[in-house]
């Protein structure tokens, strides 16, 4: 059993408070992805779980046993460091074999495992190289390999794919999913890549400034963000936010015009709220239940398979609109936009989502 339980974890570096009252339960075999802005404490949390850093307060349980006092070596976890931390004096092979040698595994078995991992990570050619002779992505893969060969009960990954190219990343993602499925390890995975988070996670944990903001299944978090922060953080480009005020059961947008309140949401008259609509839900043209407003294309980001239009609508921020495929719009072209009420999220003055009754 390798479930992981964090109770009231807090951490300060001197006066800097980095984690606050973190409560998290990860079931045995679960794949949890940790996301959050840079510097919010993700690495610190992993390091505390690993036993490399001592929490200022709180308890850690692994497999039901409190491991506060258990040194890192005995917690039975594997970790991929954000900084790799490869042993510079060892070859790639040795780097990966080191952990296995520590368990007195027979030599042939070690070789087999390392070769298997190396093949999977496309490092086969490089086994005799030292880290200094590797490219950034190759180093990162060695770091992954080093953790993988151990097949531990709990994996901690700190942005393990950040330096890989898209194709390789997709491949690795698949491999990790396969690995997860095959050895049924518990995994905690830090990433900045939305796709990774959405595709790999059983549950996503969104952190901000040392606090867990929301925990939930990927689509739940995507579809039902608990607050403004999560709504803005999950999804890229981020959700568009519009200031609005409730007015007779409808919403008056600061951008001008009115829109229906989303179904099931009742607001006190005059309540100041924020309406959030994701770029892919902003309608070009008209939408039922919403007065259209005009925007001028300011940036037209064409990604090939899809495009994002950054439109100026007289608001503080541009409204981002997703448009599938490629388009012929030019900067300055004016388009009509509307917010389909069925797709809108409403957040109250404190940034908390207003749920349909």
């Amino acid at each position: 059993m390798a479930d992981l339980r964090l109770r009231g974890i807090a951490k300060s570096f001197g006066a800097t408070e980095v984690l606050r009252d973190v409560e998290l339960e990860v079931a045995d075999g679960e794949f949890v992805v940790l996301v959050g802005p840079s510097g919010c404490g993700k690495s610190t949390l992993l390091r505390i779980v690993a036993g490399l850093e001592k929490q200022s307060a709180g308890d850690i349980e692994i497999g039901g046993a409190n491991v506060n006092a258990v040194p890192a070596a005995d917690r039975g976890l594997a970790m991929v460091f954000q900084s790799y931390a490869l042993y510079p004096h060892m070859t790639v092979y040795k780097n990966m074999a080191f952990a296995l040698e520590n368990t007195r595994m027979p030599k042939e078995q070690i070789t087999a495992r390392v070769r298997e991992a190396a093949a999977m990570l496309r490092l086969g050619e490089l086994l005799e190289r030292k880290p200094a002779q590797l490219s950034g992505g190759q180093r990162q893969r060695v770091a992954i390999g080093r953790a993988m060969v151990r097949e531990p009960k709990v994996f901690l990954f700190d942005e393990p794919l950040s330096n890989l190219d898209a194709e390789l990343r997709v491949a690795m993602r698949k491999e990790l999913a396969t690995l997860h499925a095959s050895i049924k390890a518990t995994m905690v995975f830090v990433t900045h890549d939305q796709t990774e988070a959405m595709t790999l996670a059983d549950r996503i944990v969104v952190m901000r400034a040392g606090v867990l903001e929301q925990i939930g299944r990927p689509l739940d978090v995507y579809n039902h963000p608990a607050n403004l922060f999560v709504a803005g953080f999950i999804g890229s480009p981020r959700m568009n936010f519009f200031a609005a005020a409730a007015e007779g059961g409808r919403l008056r947008l600061a951008a001008g015009g009115m829109m229906d309140a989303p179904p099931g949401i009742a607001l006190a008259d005059g309540a100041k709220v924020t309406v959030g609509v994701r770029p892919e839900h902003v309608a070009i043209g008209t939408a039922a239940g919403c007065d259209p407003f005009a925007g001028a294309v300011e940036i037209n980001e064409q990604l090939g398979g899809e495009s994002y239009l950054y439109c100026g609508c007289g608001l503080e921020e541009q409204v981002v609109v997703h448009s599938p495929g490629q388009n012929e719009l030019r900067v300055g072209d004016r388009i009509e936009l509307a917010l389909p009420p069925g797709r809108a999220h409403v957040f109250d003055g404190d940034g908390k989502v207003v749920r349909p009754a």
Partner: protein, 352 residues
């Protein structure tokens, strides 16, 4: 001069393929170094082939010279050859038969019948380069050279091995961990650095005696094994090893012992090499302490052995130098081998 040299280390480089001013200065510095550091040593090598008389001769000659002797008809022994400046300024080479006071009695080797009287201030020895190999041959034959060599090798190897192991362990403990008592231990190490061995020679000897290690090579080896210098040196070097490597190793389930010998030791290799070189030289050349601990010749190290050529009034410099040169060779070899480890800078490549 210092500021100029500092300046040169800092100068930007000129364009083009030609050697830059820093390169020129580097070479100048190295040339100066070779001259200052190496020329005296060259002299040492040459001098080890001089006779005792040649060694203390002033003004000194660079090459080992010896007076030429020539066989002269009618004389049993070969006669020493001199260059004689006649009153007329003519220079001749004559062999000296005998000297009486300030008059030298000479013969022309070509015409041995006639004897010539010459005042000694007009004669000068004719000399040639001659290597006095007996400087080497005699001591080797006389001393129990192989025995001494064996003892020295044993002392050096054993002491260096022990020093490296226990010092690196202590340095590891002091560099990697934070634990109660660490500062005390550190203070002890540094505090005791202050006392030269010379000062505690006598009490240390008493302790060695109590332990029954006099006249044993262990009595030479053990007392110096825990050098504060070594601990200090290694510890400071180990501080530069990135901490994440140690964390990574802990997560790889390495025991602390393995972290020590598989991670930290290889990464501290340059400093270990320095310490090894230092220890080898020190043990190999150590003189005062073995002198006091050892008084049986079967236990003598080379240094003690070769110093038996230094007496109360008289030191056989020619033997001493020759043996010095001879004993230098192994350490030189060891240095050549170990110094390469000093420049295997590796410690940083694994960290982003």
């Amino acid at each position: 001069m210092i500021s100029r040299l500092l300046h040169f280390l800092g100068r930007g480089r000129g364009t083009g393929g030609r050697p830059h001013v820093t390169d020129v200065l580097t070479w100048l510095y190295l040339a100066l170094g070779v001259f200052l550091m190496f020329a005296p040593v060259l002299w040492l090598g040459l001098s080890s082939f001089k006779t005792q008389a040649g060694l203390i001769e002033y003004p000194p000659t660079l090459a080992p010279l010896e007076q030429i002797t020539v066989p002269v008809e009618g004389y049993d022994e070969p006669l020493p050859l001199f260059r004689v400046t006649g009153e007329d300024g003519v220079v001749r080479e004559l062999a000296q038969v005998r000297r009486v006071g300030i008059i030298s009695l000479m013969v022309d080797p070509a015409a041995p019948a006639e004897r010539i009287k010459v005042p000694i201030d007009s004669i000068e020895k004719v000399r040639e380069v001659k290597l006095a190999f007996e400087n080497y041959a005699y001591p080797i034959a006389k001393l129990n050279f192989l025995g001494y060599l064996g003892n020295s090798v044993f002392v050096t190897v054993a002491a260096t091995a022990i020093t490296l192991v226990i010092n690196s362990m202590a340095a590891f403990g002091l560099a990697i961990y934070r634990f109660p008592g660490r500062n005390v231990a550190l203070g002890l190490v540094i505090g005791t650095l202050m006392f030269p061995l010379t000062i505690i020679l006598v009490p240390t000897y008493l302790i060695v005696t109590e332990l029954g290690m006099t006249n044993s090579l262990w009595g030479v080896i053990l007392p110096g094994a825990a050098t504060p210098t070594g601990v200090f040196l290694l510890r400071q070097y180990m501080l530069t090893i990135p901490g994440e490597l140690i964390e990574a190793a802990r997560l790889d389930r390495a025991s602390e012992w393995q972290i020590y010998w598989r991670i930290v030791m290889p990464l501290a290799l340059p400093a270990l090499a320095v310490l090894a070189i230092f220890s080898v030289i020190w043990r190999w050349n150590e003189f005062l302490w073995p002198l006091i601990v050892l008084n049986r010749s079967e236990n003598f190290t080379l240094q003690i052995g070769l110093h038996s050529f230094s007496g109360e009034f008289y030191t056989r410099w020619n033997y001493l130098l020759a043996m010095t040169v001879l004993t230098l060779l192994p350490v030189l070899f060891v240095f050549g081998w170990l110094q390469r480890f000093i420049t295997t800078g590796i410690a940083s490549a694994g960290i982003k």
